[in-house]
C-alpha cells in the first residue's frame, strides 16, 4: 500500500528518457536526478517518497537497461500505473521492488491528484476526486517479492531461511 501525489506522463515513455545515456556511468543517486528530466524537469527534483507515476501506452519501451527502472526505486516511487508496459521494463521495475499495475483508466488521473494504491487488492483510490478504481492485483508471489523490497532482498530472505 502506498499513498502519494500523481506524476502523469504520456504514451511510449522510453528508457532513454528514464535513464539518459549521458549519465549511465554516474552513481545511482546522480543518475536518478536526471530521470525523465526532458519530459518534466520538476519530476526528479520534487517527487517525494510514495508518489505515484502514471503513464500511458507501452511505458518503458526501449532497451533492457536496468537503470531505467532502478531510478524510480532510487527516487522511492511508490507505484507505477500505466495503460501498458514494455516487457523488460515491467520485469525490471518489479525486481527493484516497485509495484506496476495495468490501469485502463490512467487518463482520469491528473497531475497532483492524491492517490492511494493497494497492489495486493488491485485498488486505486483517487483521494482528490473521491473515485475508486479496480485493477488486476499483483499475484501473491510477486507481492511477496515487492514486500521484501525487490528481487535481491527477496532472494536473501529465501536463502537465509533455507540455510
Amino acid at each position: 500500500m502506498s499513498e502519494g501525489n500523481a506524476w502523469v506522463f504520456g504514451d511510449e515513455i522510453n528508457t532513454d528518457l528514464m535513464a539518459p545515456g549521458l549519465y549511465m556511468k554516474s552513481s545511482n543517486e546522480e543518475m536518478a536526478k536526471h530521470c525523465l528530466e526532458s519530459v518534466n524537469p520538476d519530476f526528479a527534483k520534487n517527487v517525494t517518497p510514495g508518489d505515484v507515476v502514471v503513464g500511458g501506452h507501452n511505458f518503458g519501451v526501449g532497451s533492457a537497461r536496468e537503470q531505467a527502472a532502478l531510478n524510480f526505486g532510487t527516487l522511492k516511487v511508490g507505484a507505477i500505473l500505466a495503460e501498458s508496459f514494455a516487457r523488460i521494463f515491467y520485469r525490471n521495475a518489479l525486481n527493484f521492488g516497485i509495484p506496476c499495475l495495468f490501469f485502463p483508466d490512467y487518463a482520469t488521473i491528473k497531475p497532483g491528484h492524491r492517490l492511494r494504491v493497494d497492489a495486493a487488492l488491485g485498488r486505486i483510490d483517487n483521494l482528490t476526486t473521491g473515485t475508486q478504481h479496480t485493477v488486476d492485483p499483483l499475484p501473491a508471489h510477486l507481492l511477496e517479492m515487492i514486500r521484501a523490497g525487490g528481487l535481491m532482498p527477496h532472494l536473501k530472505k529465501r536463502f537465509a531461511s533455507a540455510k
Binding site: R91, P139, M152
Partner: protein, 425 residues
C-alpha cells in the same frame, strides 16, 4: 482446451495441466544462456552478495562474444572475469571466443523443441526457431535464474504470422523480418510471435532464426516456429538426437490466437530499414542511390553461413567499390571454417572484403569497425538505433546480405536484383 505452442511449453515447465494467456506462473528453466555482456560480470557480484552458487552448472551455457577479442583493459577484464566464473562454477558448456552465443548455442545442439530457455540477451528469441520457448531477461533476473533454476512468467498471447508463396529472386527472410517491424510495430509486449506458412516451412534453420531473432525488434516475449523435419535434421547435424515426441511440440488445431496475419511472400521486395528504427522500413528502391561509407556483414542475425553465401552470390567476380569498405564478421568460428571450405570466404576476400573476428564487434559499438560522425553504413544486423554502431550522428540502414553486398559493389544503396539477374542459378 486446444493450446498454442508457447502455452504448451509454459504449462509443462510450470507443472500446470494447462495455462491461458495472462496467467502468472513459475517455470523450471531447462537452460540458461549467459553471455559476457550481461552475464558473469553482472551476476557474480550479486551471487557473492547472497553468498550463494549456481543451481546447476550443467544447465548453464556461457559464451564470450560481445567483448572478443579484447580491445582495451576494460574488455580484457570482463573476459577474464567470464573465464574465472566458468572455472569457479564448473561450467562445462563454456564457449570462449567460438562465436556469437545465439549461434554457438544452436551449432552445438543445445536447443530442442519444447524446452524452456532463458537468455541474458535481448535477442534470445532467436532460439525459438527450434520450437522452444526462449526469451531475454535483464542481468538481475538472470541472477535469480542461475541461482534457483526458476523464473516467473506471464503467459503471453500468441500472434500467428503466416507467409505463403515463393520468394522472388533476391528476397530473403531478412526482408520478411524488416517488413514485419513496419507492419506489426515494435510494441508487442507479452505476446509470442509464431511464424508459419509454406514460405517459412521451405526455409532452413538459418533463415527461420532470422525471423525469431527479430521478434525482439517487435517487442515480443519470444518468436517461435513449430518443429518439423528441417528442425530435427538440424539437431542431428549438431549432434543431438531428437526426442521421440519432438514433433508434438506444435500448436493444437483450433488454438486461440490473439491475431492471425497472412502475407504473400511472392509480393515482397527487398526491404531496407532507414535510421533510426527497424520499423522505419520500406522497399530498397526508396533509398536507392544513397552513398554509403561502410557495408557490414555481421551479427547473430546476419552472418551465418547462408548469409555469407548470399553475399558471395552477388560479389562473385565483382569488386567492392573504392569509395566504400566492406567488413565481414562471420557469426562463429564454425561459420568461418565452413565458408572457407566451400569457397565462400575466398569470393568475399577476392572482392575486397576485410575479415573481422567472430563476435558482436562493431555492431554493438564495442569492437572493430565502428562509425565516424556523419558516416553512412548499411548492415545485415537487426537494430539501427541512434549511436548503435558508434557516433550518434552516423546513419545505419538495415538490409539483407544480398542488399548489403550489392550496395558494397555499387558504393550506394542498390537493389540486389539488379546484380543477381532474374533466375535462380
Amino acid at each position: 482446451m486446444p493450446q498454442t505452442l508457447v502455452e504448451k511449453i509454459i504449462a509443462r515447465a510450470s507443472g500446470q495441466g494447462a495455462v491461458k494467456p495472462g496467467d502468472l506462473v513459475t517455470c523450471k528453466v531447462d537452460l540458461a544462456m549467459l553471455l559476457d555482456s550481461g552475464g558473469p560480470r553482472r551476476i557474480w557480484p550479486r551471487l557473492k552478495e547472497l553468498n550463494a552458487g549456481v543451481w546447476d552448472p550443467d544447465k548453464i551455457f556461457l559464451a564470450s562474444d560481445h567483448f572478443v577479442p579484447a580491445v582495451d583493459a576494460e574488455s580484457a577484464g570482463i573476459l577474464k572475469l567470464t573465464r574465472d566464473f566458468a572455472r569457479e562454477f564448473g561450467i562445462k558448456n563454456f564457449y570462449d571466443m567460438e562465436g556469437i552465443g545465439h549461434i554457438v548455442l544452436a551449432e552445438n545442439g543445445h536447443l530442442a523443441p519444447g524446452m524452456f530457455v532463458c537468455g541474458g540477451d535481448s535477442h534470445s528469441p532467436m532460439g525459438g526457431a527450434y520450437g522452444c520457448y526462449m526469451a531475454g531477461f535483464g542481468g538481475i533476473e538472470m541472477t535469480a535464474v542461475v541461482l534457483t533454476g526458476e523464473i516467473w512468467t506471464r503467459v503471453p498471447e500468441t500472434i500467428r504470422v503466416n507467409w505463403r508463396g515463393k520468394f522472388g529472386r533476391g528476397v530473403t527472410a531478412k526482408d520478411i523480418a524488416l517488413k514485419l517491424c513496419c507492419e506489426l510495430g515494435m510494441d508487442n509486449a507479452f505476446k509470442a510471435i509464431e511464424y508459419g506458412g509454406d514460405t517459412v516451412r521451405a526455409m532452413q534453420m538459418s533463415e527461420r532464426s532470422v525471423l525469431t531473432n527479430m521478434a525482439a525488434e517487435l517487442g515480443a516475449e519470444t518468436g517461435m516456429i513449430e518443429p518439423d523435419e528441417v528442425t530435427l535434421n538440424a539437431m542431428r547435424a549438431a549432434g543431438r538426437t531428437p526426442a521421440a515426441d519432438a514433433l508434438s511440440w506444435r500448436s493444437d488445431e483450433g488454438a486461440a490466437y490473439f491475431a492471425v496475419h497472412d502475407f504473400d511472400a511472392g509480393a515482397l521486395t527487398p526491404q531496407v530499414a532507414a535510421p533510426h528504427a527497424p520499423s522505419n522500413s520500406g522497399p530498397v528502391g526508396n533509398y536507392a542511390g544513397m552513398a554509403v561509407d561502410q557495408a557490414y556483414i555481421g551479427a547473430c542475425v546476419g552472418a551465418k553461413l547462408k548469409d555469407l553465401q548470399m553475399a558471395a552470390e552477388v560479389l562473385k567476380g565483382r569488386k567492392v567499390a573504392s569509395t566504400l569498405r566492406l567488413l565481414v564478421a562471420p557469426a562463429s568460428k564454425q561459420v568461418t571454417r565452413d565458408a572457407e571450405k566451400d569457397g565462400t570466404l575466398g569470393i568475399l576476400l577476392e572482392a575486397g572484403a576485410t575479415l573481422l573476428p567472430s563476435g558482436c564487434g562493431a555492431y554493438a559499438a564495442m569492437g572493430a569497425g565502428i562509425l565516424a560522425d556523419g558516416e553512412v553504413c548499411i548492415t545485415t544486423t537487426n537494430r539501427n538505433f541512434q549511436g548503435r554502431m558508434g557516433a550518434s550522428t552516423a546513419s545505419v540502414y538495415l538490409g539483407s546480405p544480398y542488399t548489403v553486398a550489392a550496395t558494397a559493389v555499387a558504393g550506394k544503396i542498390c537493389d540486389p536484383r539488379d546484380m543477381l539477374g532474374e533466375t535462380v542459378p
